[in-house]
């Protein structure tokens, strides 16, 4: 198999003496969709946040596109242009319109011309049915619309990989589908994705592989279908049962 886009080796993270992640190892290949599953508090969010430097780690090694990631501020600034991330909380900037939210990073961070970025932002918005919201402010949008804009905002940076941290967890149930559909479409367009989610049907539909976290360790790394049809560990089986799956 070709070289992994992202590879994680012996990663360890602790808050003071409190060990959160131990000996994390996995690879993500280009175009692959990896679902990161586990109970609350198993370290999923922490793990996904270490991948773009929002959480520092103490030991181990990250490689992105073959290069070792030096864990320092300047490296993370560069890397974050290639790794997009969307969070659980709505984090559009309330002081900017939808369009300005999307254009901010491409113009100020990637230094592209506004005249070039804006039409692209408009067409991205149109592709998710939000064209007429370009000039509105985030407070005028529903939760689902905000999350779709947040995804568009990350995509406008042309990332090589996307991280999704429970992006539907604070949405009203009727809003969830629209956001998940958008992520399914992204997966079909061969976007490399790591997805933390509690939506098991979605994970099964979209993921190529499942990483199952137990107490800060990966206890299963299996093809998605196999994970759901024949859970590899008792803990995973219990977890799926608890999700009514």
């Amino acid at each position: 198999m070709a070289e992994a886009l992202l590879s994680v080796r012996h990663l360890e993270k602790a808050y003071q003496k409190n060990v959160i992640l131990t000996d994390i190892n996995f690879d993500v290949h280009k175009g692959e969709v990896v679902a990161l599953l586990g109970r609350s508090g198993s370290g999923k969010s922490t793990l996904i946040r270490t991948l773009n430097g929002l959480e520092p780690f103490q030991k181990g090694e990250l490689r992105f596109a073959g290069e070792v990631v030096q864990p320092k501020a300047a490296t993370w600034l560069q890397l974050r242009q290639k790794i997009g991330m969307v969070f659980q909380s709505y984090d559009l900037f309330p002081n900017l319109t939808v369009l300005d939210n999307i254009c901010l990073a491409p113009t100020k961070v990637a230094k592209r011309a506004r005249a070039e970025v804006e039409p692209e932002a408009q067409s991205l918005l149109a592709s998710v049915g939000l064209a007429e919201f370009a000039d509105r402010y985030p407070r005028q949008l529903s939760g689902g619309q905000k999350q779709r804009v947040a995804i568009v905002r990350a995509l406008a940076m042309h990332p090589e990989m996307m991280l999704f941290d429970e992006v539907t967890a604070s949405l009203d149930p009727e809003m969830v589908r629209g956001v998940l559909d958008m992520m399914v479409d992204l997966a079909k367009q061969d976007m490399t994705m790591i997805v933390v989610t509690h939506e098991m049907n979605f994970a099964r539909q979209v993921a190529d592989r499942v990483l199952f976290l137990d107490d800060g360790t990966i206890t299963a790394d299996t093809p998605a279908e196999a994970f759901f049809t024949a859970p590899p560990t008792a803990s995973a089986k219990e977890f799926l049962a608890s999700m009514n799956f």
Partner: protein, 229 residues
């Protein structure tokens, strides 16, 4: 009331001098607020960084300017700085420098408070987009923090205006000093004249401060209503 002294107010240059005093007060206050405000925004932003020595220095600066009475600071700059550095500074310049340093200290605290009130996930989503610290401040944090800081800033502005009455101490002809001079020159013949002079001062300060105070209350109320809605 022919000899109450009100007519003296309008004799010769008297009223004109009063207006000039009003102008000096206003000018010192506005320049102080502009310089001190910018200084305070910069220092307030620096105070949100996690750099221990820097935090100690900035905290010390804030505490010194808060604890030492402004009049003492004013004298320090007026009598000591020009000798030490062989500078020829006008009283007005001395006052602006002193008041701006004091305003910067107070303002840094207001700005810091408003910046840390911006939710952490706003910072994180800005980081995740690749914005550096300066870009986070400029495009995300300050635009959200400054409206929060506005009522406190306006209240600070009224304090600056009132503090300019200390200009009297270093012989700058502000409202108070003009009034004092007029009283001293005329109170022998017309003891009631002082009443008019201080009455005028009261009205002038009121004109400067009351609208600000009202504005601060209004936007604070609007902000609370909006955040509850």
């Amino acid at each position: 009331m022919a000899h109450s002294g009100i007519d003296i107010l309008f004799q010769g240059q008297n009223f004109h001098r009063f207006l000039q005093g009003f102008g000096v007060t206003l000018r010192v206050a506005v320049i102080t607020l502009l310089i001190g405000g910018v200084l305070g925004i910069v220092l307030g932003a620096l105070r949100t960084l996690h750099n221990r020595p820097l935090q100690v220095i900035l905290r010390l600066y804030l505490e010194i300017f808060r604890i030492v009475p402004t009049v003492v600071l004013l004298f320090v700059v007026y009598y000591i700085v020009p000798q030490l550095f062989h500078l020829d500074m006008s009283g007005e310049l001395v006052a602006i420098v002193t008041f701006a340093l004091w305003t910067g200290a107070e303002m840094s605290d207001i700005v810091r408070g408003a910046l840390i009130a911006v939710p952490q996930h706003q910072v994180e989503s800005a980081q995740a987009l690749g914005l550096n610290r300066l870009q986070q401040l400029r495009y995300v944090l300050l635009p959200q923090a400054l409206p929060v800081a506005l009522p406190g800033t306006i209240n600070l502005a009224t304090r600056i205006i009132k503090t300019t009455s200390l200009l009297l101490m270093i012989s700058v002809m502000d409202i108070v000093n003009v009034g004092q001079t007029l009283v001293e020159a005329n109170s022998h013949q017309h003891p009631a004249f002082a009443f008019w002079v201080y009455g005028i001062m009261f009205i002038m300060y009121y004109i400067l401060c009351a609208p600000l105070s009202w504005w601060a209350k209004r936007i604070e109320k609007q902000r609370l209503e909006r955040s509850n809605g």
